[in-house]
Symmetry: C2
Subunit: 491 residues, 2 copies
């Protein structure tokens, strides 16, 4: 029997049986990046985690609509609605039109996601492309008395909202404390005096005259606050009550808490059935941050060009590294850990290859059904990918026994096991064989030929030695002889 | 001396010296695809043409802002504002949310563009992301008396516009004829009776109740017409007077003519300095069309899966094919033509490789400056890529003479020529070495080793023969021996 999928719901702080609102459809919303810089290690974890969730739900037969936004306006440097818009600032520094910055980093984000083998979302809406939808929701919040205009900007009124709904349930914050004092130090930040309470957050910001990203609105020429885009776009594409909302734990407060308040304030009920949060990645035990010099972009990881890296790590090494920890555990990045994963991944993929090339026997020396069941048990237990990988290692061990004649499976059993392993490794975990393979093989083959050339020379068989060099040259491979031996390059 | 760039301006029907409005900046707008299906052969030509234009302008030192839109709403099946929205129809047929259709085909369009080695545009705005901007322009047109509301939709009033401006100058249409009768047969099409004149075109369409893609507006809940997006988005990102507007000749009328009318009607002057149009691709002399069974998508071309194709053609073969004709000439696609280009490209790239690996001599037997000048002369003559390629073939011929010792260049001359050829081939024409290379080499290398194994066997040198097989196996290459000889596969 197929085990029942359970997911940890941050809202209830328990694992719950997953029951979609309108099966077989599943609506999944995940907060996407603010595209003002290269994607970094911190981006890898949520997007791999929810990619695997989407892949597994699809494997289970659900029709998943996966919406992941692009924040291209409204994300200010400071969460308390102060400082410059991150994209506007980058545009100023790079002397570009803000949308050029957006395009550049959206492109490099997509490249990184492709390399990590994350499937593209079903819909990838942009904040700047949904100004009307955000304005409509802001209008509703003002109507309901949960938002107020102040000098052309509009703020969410936490005090008024709290009289009708609980604010802070997702993150466990106590609204009285938030309202009382938590924000006093923020008073000094520009624009804070427009707010009735420092804990209130911006829904619409009036644009300064020099601000390029601006749109007309009933309140001012301006731009939306950071939180409102996710409420407006998730409602537009998934409805005002949908199945799963995912994101990193760092977004729990204020971002997700504000999303709940906005959605509930405008449509009268909680917007999401299951809230899921992945834990953070630390680097050698420290939080990642530009000031600590440990801020590593994904492309730096893939080509090894950051000072903290002793080598390059392939996208599949990063993916395997992330999937070998449960998504709700912290995960510490270090060269040592990554190197261990790299070795492990090599063994793992070789083991999978061996397993997939095995021949059947007349009898089965072990049962495949419990092994296969264990895969689903792991995934159904709140997407426990490390346990799944451990079970796959166990399967590989059996495969190696079979390869050396110490175990066996009938054709039917073998086929069932091979099909399931293929599905789990490539479709659900989303691993792929690395493209490096072809280049690696060229090197291995050329080395074989160079060794044979050395032998021929030692035997004074000049004809063979020259022939090897000439044939290699014809293939576009140039051999260079020196005192230390022969090396080669593409000519 | 650097020759002066001249471009053919459709507006004046002459070649004109290119002088940007605000050097060193160049604004370039190219009409992008309507993303309701796979990119096809017809998409390859404009995007390769204007990619090369952008690359050459950048090479000349201009700072190019290249804007290419994505039409994700408003493009109806029939140019006379009738029929379903193309994306809404596809969404209905595929049972998807329209934005899922948009995402799917935007993704596959990007993949095809990457394969063709077209650089991404600086900004790629979406029609649905610029509803407010389009509404603002429609509002201005109504104010100026060039547009009118009718049953919730808004139409451009060609008759009123023609009293103040010329309509039809770009395409050479005569406005009296358009207004008099050209559209009589359109009367029967749904929605045409809302228009004062059948030649008028939609700026805003009231949405039918079942229509999902809809936004509030002062006139109705609806969606923008097809033409208005390009006027609104080009003005937003390039200003209301910019340098170059490009597109296929099929867009001259009504699309570009309508763009001019909208922009001029709202801002009072012509929006574009140089209008450039690429000619069409025919297939075996026929127009490409779904009913003719000759509608070939780019991915079908790349993998050879269309009935009209006798083989697959690599993206670089397609690129070279397109660049070997002048962009304003018609270009006929056929298997024979493509196969000839494939062979030519192979010779061309081998010639380039030879040239780049040449060694200098003490004297130059020919002059490099006239050769180099000829490249720029070709490109400056309205982007004449076939002449550039012919001149590069001439250079390759010289390179082959040098390789066989019949010509020579000094180190300085050789370096200058090599640098320029590299720039022209890879940076300006945007050719790249095909990825097939690595796999090809693997086969060549394995064949060499298999031949050596046959020899060893013939010499009864079983040790060597076995060693080759075992070492190949260790590299993941399996040798299969049969009566016909040995073959190999990745294990």
């Amino acid at each position: 029997m197929q085990p029942v999928l359970q997911l940890y719901n941050t809202l209830s702080r328990t694992k719950e049986v997953f029951e979609p609102i309108t099966p077989p459809h599943v609506g999944l919303y995940v907060c996407g990046p603010t595209v003002y810089g290269e994607a970094h290690l911190g981006h890898a974890r949520p997007y791999i985690t929810f990619d695997v969730l989407r892949r597994y739900l699809t494997h289970l037969g659900y029709k998943v609509r996966y919406v992941r936004n692009i924040t291209d306006v409204g994300h200010l440097e400071n969460d308390a609605d102060a400082g410059e818009d991150k994209i506007a600032k980058k545009a100023r520094l790079e002397q570009l039109e803000p949308m050029e910055v957006v395009e550049l980093y959206t492109g490099s984000f997509h490249t990184s996601m492709r390399e990590l083998n994350n499937l593209p979302p079903s819909i990838e809406p942009r904040a700047s492309g949904h100004i009307l939808e955000q304005q409509a929701m802001i209008g509703k919040l003002i109507e309901q008395g949960f938002a107020y205009e102040s000098q052309g900007s509009v703020y969410f009124d936490i005090s008024s909202y709290s009289k009708q709904y609980d604010y802070g349930t997702l993150s466990g914050r106590v609204v009285e404390e938030l309202l009382a004092g938590a924000g006093n130090e923020r008073r000094t930040l520009e624009g804070q005096d427009e707010k009735r309470n420092p804990a209130d957050f911006a829904l619409w910001k009036k644009a300064q005259p020099e601000h390029i990203m601006r749109w007309p609105s009933p309140w001012s020429d301006g731009f939306p606050g950071w939180h409102i885009e996710c409420s407006a776009m998730s409602a537009k594409y998934l409805g005002d009550y949908f199945d799963i909302h995912g994101g990193g734990m760092d977004l729990l407060f204020p971002h997700h808490e504000s999303e709940i308040a906005q959605s509930q304030g405008s449509c009268g009920h909680h917007p999401v059935k299951y809230w899921m949060h992945n834990n953070m990645i630390t680097i050698n035990g420290q939080k990642m941050g530009k000031s600590l010099g440990n801020f590593i972009t994904l492309s730096e990881l893939f080509n090894g060009t950051h000072a903290k890296l002793t080598q390059a790590y392939s996208p599949m090494t990063i993916r395997f590294f992330i999937l070998q920890a449960h998504y709700r555990s912290t995960l510490d990045f270090s060269n040592e850990a990554l190197q261990a994963v790299e070795k492990g991944l090599k063994r793992f993929m070789e083991g999978v290859k061996t397993l997939l090339s095995l021949q059947p026997s007349k009898e089965s020396s072990f049962a495949v059904d419990p092994l296969i069941a264990s895969y689903h048990e792991a995934l159904c237990d709140d997407l426990n990918t490390p346990i799944l990988i451990a079970q796959l290692y166990e399967t590989i061990y059996q495969g190696n026994l079979m390869a050396s004649g110490k175990a066996s499976l009938t054709a039917a059993d073998l086929q069932k096991l091979q099909e399931t392993v293929k599905t789990m490794v490539f479709e659900v975990l989303g691993m792929k064989t690395e493209a490096e393979a072809a280049t690696d093989k060229v090197d291995g083959l050329v080395q074989m030929l160079l060794e044979m050339r050395v032998e021929a020379k030692n035997n004074k068989d000049w004809a063979t030695s020259d022939r090897i060099r000439d044939q290699l040259a014809a293939l576009g491979i140039q051999v260079k002889d020196s005192k230390e031996g022969s090396s080669w390059s593409f000519s």
